[in-house]
Amino acid sequence: MGIVMWRLGGERFRAAAVAWGPVAGPFKIAVAGEPRNRDLYFHALAPFATDLSTAVRAAADDRVARTRGSRTDRLPANGLQLVVANRSTVGALGLLGRYLAYLSDRSGVSPDPNLMEAGKHLRFYARHSRTPGQALIVPLDRLLSEHWATLLSPLEQANLAALDAQIEPGRGVHAFEASAAAERIARIGPEPTEDIDRVTTELVEAFNEDRAGSVDPAVVTPLLEPISAHYRALVEPVWALIGRSVSRERGLPAAPSVAGRFESDREAFGRHVDWVSDGGRYRTTDTPRQAAMTLRRLEQARSRYEAERAIEDPACMVPYLLDADAIRGTVTNLNEDHRTVVRVRAVQRPLLTLDTDDPIVLPAGKKLWWTAAAHDAPWEVVSVTRHAAGSRAVLMLTTVARNDRLPALRGRATFSTLRTRSEGFPLALATAPPWTHQPERPPAAPEPIDAGDAETPAAAVDGSAVADPEAYR
């Protein structure tokens, strides 16, 4: 599902427009008119919330069994993947989720449970986006930056249109000129520019005047048309850009490790949906235990993702070769039957000689993994000597020979410090925090997130009407 959001300028919790739908297909759009009015806002967001929750639950319903050892889990066969234009949109959806999931009652009336459920889902997606290698929510600026080499600096890479233009500039146009032109024209959101919101200001003011305080859909809906048209026109190019980027990426083969990482995503997705369906609630901030567990989980995901990328894509291995975290060369000798003594017994430990193209420096005893067996046991460096233009390294496998553990004689092989099976054991975290991690004074109860909804929306003020508009940035 693709999602495009345009916020009301400066309003972190107010989506002036949300568009959603299947990535290649038509989008639906939710426009509140005056998103700072709670009734109008909720009424407009309801179809989005419903569609999102329905799609999430449908994806989570279809389960498959996965057995690991003695344990069988039921994971969703697929997860609902959200595709957005940039990381800012992920953050914006996260804030929207933070808001919707914790809405408080107004004069005894509970908020729409649909909205609250959608809020929980959005918040889950935003938090899950921190996991390296995850693909449940895909900000395309990150996807394209990670998979394409361009001359854009990191800051410029946050602009999807510029990235897209660099990748496919069009016939006869230089990539640089194409991306500079794209930056000038493209408006991607979620934060609107001055000229966009100058139009919005007029439309919203007219809208508010015409509805004269009414929130009755019968009155309001016909009045929304100009604002809807305004946002539809802003969404369409972004939607097309998302569609184009996704279809281009789909044309490229997925790496073998994608399935494994997405399995972790599906697992997290399934757990989340189960939690929400069972009426579970989430804390607004992490406990020390949750933070520690998240830290460990993210670190492990990161090292796994980095290893998988470099191992599967030779271009991604180059930086490791340059940093001497990996070596590459030709296998000039392979002694499968080599034996060594380990604790009074002679055991089989294959010995391999690798002639590298470039000189290398490695201490004896350093452990390296052959990239084709990065999930398996490492090789240990026995010796490194100068040889021709490069070096000659002798490596010893730290386990017995087996066909899938041995590179071919006279073939090329890469060995690196990257491994795909996670090391280290899980942190032993007791559920109750120790006294050291408990504050002396319990923290104050958090304020409700939506306390400010009752306020009258501030009047828009054009930059030309103020002496120093930058003072308000």
Partner: protein, 395 residues
Amino acid sequence: MAKRSRSGRTTSKNEALAAVRGNAPKASPNVRRLAAFAKVHSCPTAVLAFAAGVDSNRVLTGTRLEMPFGQSPFAIGRGVAFENLLRQHGHAELRRVLTEGLEVDFALAPVENLRQGFQPNRTGLTMRASVTKNHMKEIVTGLPRPIVLDGAVLRAEVGGITAFFEADEMAIGVGGEILVGENKSWPVVDGRPTDADALGSALDQAATYALLGRRTLAEVGVDPDRVSGDVVIVTPRNTGLSPVLHRQNVDGRIRRIERLLAAVPAVSDIAEDLPAGLSFDPVADTSADDDARLDAFAEITDQVGNVYEPGSCLTSCGFAWACRECAFGRGDPAVAGGSVARALPGVATLRRVSELGRGAPPSVAEAPAAGPIARAGRLYDEAVPVPAPRRRRPA
């Protein structure tokens, strides 16, 4: 005699800088411009524009290299409304947050609004600065209760130009100290600002006021440390505009701003070395065509020099797109960012990077980087074979 000739020379220096500015849009120093200047202070063109009071954000208006700039009226309106909210009903909300946040009772504290009753020009600012200074002096006498100044003004010499800096609030007499405060209308949610870098900017701004406050006290012979190294940031919490106060220490930032102010070159130093006829005037001339204006800008950067680094320039200077285009035209590796450029010392163009990557012999200057580049080229060629370049250069 000496006095007259000295003042005569100063005037001609100011005239020289006025000539540099011409009719280009003006901008006098304030906290935000100072912060932007910090990011580009090693670029001679940016320095010249800053010292000459040129608004780099607006000079290229109307050309194809004009950078988007400006904020949504809703965002500005929110900021205005937040300020008004703090001031309503005798500054009720301001008093409330100060009381809660500083644990000192501000309910009956006198709050003087210096934004009202003064002319909105330099004269008014000068007077507000004077009023602020007089109130600050009272810290030594020991006040029965704190005084709050809304819109305190601090005067500073920035590169020889007198500039006025407006602090959102200044609380005088909190535990014997003066605390400065800055209001921002972005919210804090679950104890974190929604904009991570925005908090750093806000703290830098408040630190600027604290530094200038200390200098003001020093001018009148009061211990400058009576201005606290803690500052106050007032933001809304969650949705709506209901304010909450955050108190942070900014001693390090104060030291940083001090160095920043010292890095602004004196008017006199620049004026002396200026090539004759150099001016932003033709660059800002909206009646001229794009090419003429951009050529005039290139004239300036050629004569004075410039330093392009995307991460710093694109977020702080309105000339960044123009400089980027020039950098691209030269094939400068800087277009890819500072970290890329730093990995290629001595290699002047991207074309050379490409050639060195194919094993071309390096010049003396290129020698340090040539080895790693050639190696990288070989490794990438093995990993991702690409067709040879279409054009072959003679050896």
